[in-house]
Subunit: 208 residues, 2 copies
Amino acid sequence: MTQDGRLARGNESRRRILERAMATASQDGLEALSIGRLATDLGVSKSGVFAHFGSKEELQAAVIRAAGAVFAREVIAPGLNLPPGLPRLLGLCDGWLDYSQRRVFPGGCFFYAAGAEFDARPGRIRDLLADARRDWLRLCAQTVTDARHLGELTEAADPVQVAFELDALACAANSTALLLDEPLAYERARAGIRDRLRALATRPDSVP
Amino acid sequence: MTQDGRLARGNESRRRILERAMATASQDGLEALSIGRLATDLGVSKSGVFAHFGSKEELQAAVIRAAGAVFAREVIAPGLNLPPGLPRLLGLCDGWLDYSQRRVFPGGCFFYAAGAEFDARPGRIRDLLADARRDWLRLCAQTVTDARHLGELTEAADPVQVAFELDALACAANSTALLLDEPLAYERARAGIRDRLRALATRPDSVP
DNA sequence: GGATCATACGAACGTTCGTTCATAAAAGCG
DNA sequence: CGCTTTTATGAACGAACGTTCGTATGATCC
């Protein structure tokens, strides 16, 4: 019963559409996504693309969900594979910088681009992007908390503050590398992150 | 001869258009700027607005120029009014955070929004935004250099690196305050900036 | 006062946008 | 086999887009 070739074909089409949509949205923005252009690029009909989502906003929401899955696979999962605490924190930061630098999305971090685009436009799309960002910051802060409990970071390290600062450095690398075409920015972020963590570590030389 | 009422009226119209355009562009993006909507909002004709610029790209460029003047007046000038070195560096950072927090532009920092929108779209607009960003980072780095020469910061403070890190914290505040509706982010950035500068200062208690 | 200039207008152009709908093609199921 | 379900198509819709053009309104200048 679960072997319906029609559904399988439909899911594959949907996947192809979202793949392309994520790429163009990371470069040109979620609002610049156009159903017609998407259809032309993929060599299918406009109404065919439309039918998969029912509205442009639903397409945008689906793109955000798909990008979240990519982010989970490329950044979160490898990080969670590392031991909790400081190694995981460093792994998450480096994983994020790699994900931006490798251009998993051609326009750099999808959520940086989309977040900046919708941060002043109330609505469902903004809420979804805010949720994604909150999740990421929460994970970072929780990992700082773990590191404190493990005695790797001093009690002076406020988890929310540290998460804010590490994320700030990573985002700045993404932004600078893209806008100023300056790949060195990634090294600056890595240096800044290590500097910051060393200053908060109980054993500074434990930060590679 | 310089008293041409026609030119004066034209310049005033242009000014009103750009004022409105900067505000909507900071919220909805430079590409979402629409000549028709701009005209409707201002109660004038579409072709009247168009005639002032000749093309949409020229309008976008003019908006960037106008936003640069606002930034110079609101952030740069007050900063340059302070004594060079550490006080000016702190003044520039606080001035930037104030400018974002006061919502001089309703969508937060104009250049953060526009930069993120065009960082992956080659062309004249991207180049103008890259220039603006480079100028800002250069000013910050130069001020760090001054502080070093004045003996306020240690030789370990790499001007470009410090500028990168301070700007990163400020941008993260703008982004977090807007997307997550979290004004506390500005305090986090202020704390992070002071922390960072104290660590690099020859007299740490000289950082208020 | 008449010629000249810049500003603003209204109508129209061709395109693209998101969306709707009737219909064809193909796969599963009785 | 027919009947249903799912995917995909092509034609068409009204609205908005950037842009062009001919024209009207006044202020400036000779």
